[in-house]
């Protein structure tokens, strides 16, 4: 029912956006200001449109000794000023008429002359309207005007300070490449291209955000990824109509299949190697300017629990690590719930010796197990959240305070039982073992639901909660790919890369669940 309401609401929203958009673009088409022939007038319009900001650089000068007036306009900080200086201003100022050629008269030809003979920069284009010029300048281009010409040359002179290539913070590995993405989209595409030297690699660029005009690139390998997946992702991205897109999370939330699900339906990563391997599997990457988080879709629950390291280490190590992680995800969700169920409803299930000792430790505890767990788990969440926000040196203090206060003092004060502390510790450790941070958060949310179910119905409640989660997961899709694939629907050939990770030489085919165009990964296995 919610879905229907949501669909309706979304459709209406999209329709109204479209209407606005079309009227908007009509307006624009009619309102486009052509450039004037007068240099001074053009510069005045630029100043006026941008509100004459402090960082606007307008530098009028003369072409060589011909006395013809011209100017460059750019935004300080967005441009590589050395490049503008060396390759533009200096060249033109010192322009000596090449052998036998006079500088053309002030009409269109002068621009062609400049392009062909003077400006030694690869990326240039010409513009004829003021809107074009402003858009380009705000991206980091330099506009070059000549008095008497109503076209302009837009020189790609982007060069702002970016963060260098650093090790990914959120996805550390023991073995594997150390480079991560940064906030610059060009650096990020380079990181991918360096790993995927395939002429079929496609970077389909577009901009999102009506005002922010953020660059977005949809990356995929054309003869691997299934066209339906690529088209569906592009279609969903084309419906995005917000005024500003800060981070790839905006894109993720707009294109996901089900916004009511706690589970993330798009993966994010700051590891180029992860993106490259996803592209080779037939998945699609969405790169957004201004964030190191690259989105990968479609994704399944299995993929979320995988780490690139599973493939970098030998298969036994990888398989064992995966089994551990699957176990960890069960523990992360259900261990407090099981504690509640066993202590409150079914003490008979616990071996009698253990049951007695648990009962003895719970002797002075004033709360029922459910309340006890709720206190502890909530405190744990608080600690985690607090530690996240604090600068590193203070973060350690939180650890010590949390560890001591919650571990020792709470027990000796008789507020919680030591067994509960163990359970919470196991839960926390288990949720740290999950490689995707957003999946771990989903598990943390569900944990409270499971605890509630256990508090009401004991083991029966835990099983019902488990069934509920599985129902939800079988209904969930990510860009049309079932979230529980290859388990439901069963695609046995994909089980090589699921809970266990088969030896590398077994992967002769790409994953069946992504229905890749080119299915073959290796022609034959390892020749002995």
């Amino acid at each position: 029912m919610f879905r229907r309401v949501w669909e309706k609401w979304k459709n209406e929203a999209i329709a109204s956006c479209r209407k606005q958009q079309s009227s908007h673009s009509d307006q624009q088409a009619s309102n486009k200001t052509p450039l004037s022939e007068s240099l001074q007038e053009n510069l005045d319009i630029i100043k006026q449109r941008l509100g004459n900001p402090q960082d606007l650089i307008i530098r009028p000068f003369l072409i060589d000794n011909s006395g013809r007036a011209c100017a460059v306009a750019c935004i300080d900080g967005l441009v590589d000023s050395e490049l503008v200086h060396d390759k533009v201003v200096k060249h033109i100022q010192l322009l000596m008429s090449p052998a036998g050629k006079a500088i053309p008269a002030p009409d269109e030809d002068i621009m062609a002359f400049m392009l062909n003979e003077v400006l030694s920069i690869i990326e240039v284009k010409t513009g004829t309207t003021m809107e074009e010029v402003l858009d380009a300048m705000l991206v980091g281009d330099t506009a070059f005007f000549v008095d008497g010409s109503h076209t302009t040359i837009l020189i790609d002179s982007r060069g702002w300070e970016t963060r260098g290539i650093e090790e990914p913070v959120s996805e550390g590995l023991v073995r594997g490449p150390r480079d991560g993405f940064n906030e610059n989209i060009r650096d990020n595409t380079v990181r991918i291209r360096r790993r995927v030297r395939d002429p079929k690699l496609r970077f389909d660029a577009t901009t999102v955000g009506r005002r922010s005009k953020t660059d977005l690139i949809v990356a995929y390998i054309e003869d691997i990824a299934h066209p339906n997946i690529v088209n569906e992702i592009k279609r969903r991205i084309s419906t995005i109509d917000i005024d500003q897109v800060e981070e790839s999370g905006y894109i993720e939330q707009w294109i996901e299949d089900n916004f009511l699900s706690p589970f993330p339906q798009v993966q994010n990563t700051e590891r180029p190697d992860k993106v490259a391997s996803a592209l080779f599997q037939g998945r699609v990457a969405i790169i957004l300017d201004g964030t190191p988080m690259v989105l990968l879709a479609p994704v399944t629950l299995g993929i979320m629990l995988h780490s690139p390291e599973d493939f970098y280490e030998r298969w036994m190590v990888g398989s064992l690590a995966r089994v551990l992680r699957y176990l960890a995800s069960y523990l992360a969700v259900f261990s407090p719930a099981l504690y509640i169920a066993l202590v409150t409803f079914h003490p008979g299930l616990i071996p009698s010796d253990l049951a007695f000792s648990i009962a003895a430790t719970r002797d002075g505890v004033p709360f029922p197990a459910a309340v006890e767990s709720l206190i502890m788990v909530t405190t744990m969440e608080l600690l985690q959240e607090a530690g996240l926000r604090l600068p590193k040196p203070i973060g350690q203090t939180v650890g010590i305070v949390g560890g001591l206060v919650i571990g020792e003092a709470a027990v000796s004060a008789g507020i919680v039982s030591p067994v509960m502390v163990i359970v919470v510790a196991i839960t926390a450790i288990a949720s740290f073992a999950i490689p995707s941070y957003n999946l771990a958060i989903a598990f943390r949310m569900i944990r409270f639901g499971a605890m509630l179910a256990a508090a009401m119905f004991g083991l029966y409640g835990v099983v019902l909660a488990f069934i509920l989660i599985v129902i939800h997961l079988t209904n969930l899709t990510s860009i049309g790919v079932p979230y529980l694939a290859p388990l439901a629907p069963q695609l046995v050939s994909d089980w090589k890369d699921y809970i266990l990770r088969a030896p590398i030489t077994f992967f002769k085919k790409r994953p069946d669940m992504l229905q890749t165009k080119d299915k073959t990964r290796m022609k034959a296995g390892r020749s002995q």
Binding site: E232, G348, L464, V470, G480, A488
Partner: protein
């Protein structure tokens, strides 16, 4: 929206096998050794299981035949092709009612057992309600997801019953089993009638063949699907009798769960395995319930195509809940179950077989 070809709404033969097996093994497996032992009085009941298994397979095969004759039609559609629309409406309505009653029965059965083994103070009304809410959530999703759930839970269910049986081997006592072949044919047939009730459920083939990629596999799939419960019933019966003896089993309400009670896990890792066994068993009861619920909606919905699935869910759910609370005690409850099964035999076995005969006679075939 199906982006990928394999993600379409079709099931293969393997899925059908699992669905049939899963639906048949529902609540029946927990109680049948009692009724069977009461009739046959000895280990010889295994012959009854074989007989009724055979009967079930034959009927199942015939039902599969009927359904695969109309690979693209729903039950209501092919029934109207065979015996005019008004008659088909009546039949389909009764089938829908049958499934509706069956959901109520299973939900109540679950409530009863949960109350006996997991809770003592929680009222059965609340237990049943919680369960039915989950079932409704499953039914509200897509049909294919519901069928995939069967595939997910079935291995877990098989595993737990295998574990229980493995641990029971050490408790087998030969004295309980002997003497063999003492039961008369009459008693055996009486017994097989009882077991037959526990085999009901395979009629789902009538309705889900529509979803199969290769409808002609339906009869094979039913028989294969029935082999699993036949085997499971045989071993469970032998173990239950071997551990408790026929005399004791007669007086146990849920002998199969009692079997789990005596299991001792080495190392004392966990005690009272029967609670755990039943907890996991909830999954298979849940599966049969969702399938029956789905079929109730599917059949009632095919008579009134204008009503949306979600509306049906809202109409049927309170009904199911109220009916499940109808029986006041265990005796009433079990007699309701018996009457229900006889109704089911009539409406989902006899009538479809009749339909098959008429279809053959009149030469009606479905459109490919």
């Amino acid at each position: 929206m199906n982006t990928l070809p394999y993600a379409d709404q079709k099931i293969g033969q393997k899925e059908m096998v699992f669905i049939v097996a899963n639906v048949v093994i529902g609540v029946g497996i927990l109680t049948f050794p009692r009724t069977l032992a009461a009739k046959t009085g000895s280990i010889d009941g295994w012959i009854s299981i074989l007989i009724s298994g055979l009967v079930a397979s034959v009927i199942g095969w015939l039902l599969g035949k009927l359904a695969s004759r109309f690979p693209a039609n729903s039950f209501f559609e092919y029934a109207s092709l065979i015996v005019s629309r008004p008659v088909a409406q009546v039949i389909t309505f009764l089938v829908g009612i049958y499934f509706l009653l069956f959901v109520s029965f299973e939900a109540r059965a679950l409530g009863n057992i949960a109350k006996q083994y997991l809770f003592t103070t929680t009222p059965v009304e609340v237990i049943t309600l919680a369960f039915l809410l989950i079932v409704q959530y499953a039914v509200a999703g897509t049909r294919i997801a519901l069928l995939r759930l069967n595939m997910l839970f079935f291995p877990i269910v098989l595993l737990i019953s295998a574990v229980v049986q493995l641990y029971s081997i050490q408790m087998l006592e030969l004295d309980n089993v002997r003497p063999l072949f003492t039961t008369g044919l009459g008693a055996l047939l009486q017994g097989s009638k009882e077991v037959n009730l526990s085999f009901s459920g395979y009629e789902v083939v009538l309705f889900y063949t529509l979803l199969m990629t290769r409808a002609e596999d339906a009869p094979k799939a039913v028989v294969k699907g029935l082999l699993i419960p036949i085997f499971l019933y045989l071993t469970i019966y032998i173990f239950v009798i071997g551990v408790f003896s026929a005399e004791v089993v007669k007086n146990l309400t849920y002998p199969t769960i009692e079997l789990a009670k005596d299991v001792e896990v080495p190392g004392g890792f966990i005690e009272r395995v029967e609670s755990l066994f039943f907890t996991i068993w909830i999954m298979t009861i849940f599966n049969s319930c969702t399938v029956f619920f789905d079929l109730a909606i599917f059949n009632l919905g095919s008579i009134f195509p204008n009503v949306r699935k979600f509306t049906w869910l809202l109409i049927i759910s309170p009904l199911v809940y109220m009916i499940s609370l109808w029986p006041q005690n265990l005796v009433q409850f079990f007699s309701l179950g018996d009457q229900l099964v006889y109704f089911g035999i009539f409406i989902t076995y006899l009538v479809p077989i009749l339909l098959l005969l008429i279809a053959k006679w009149r030469g009606v075939r479905g459109d490919e």
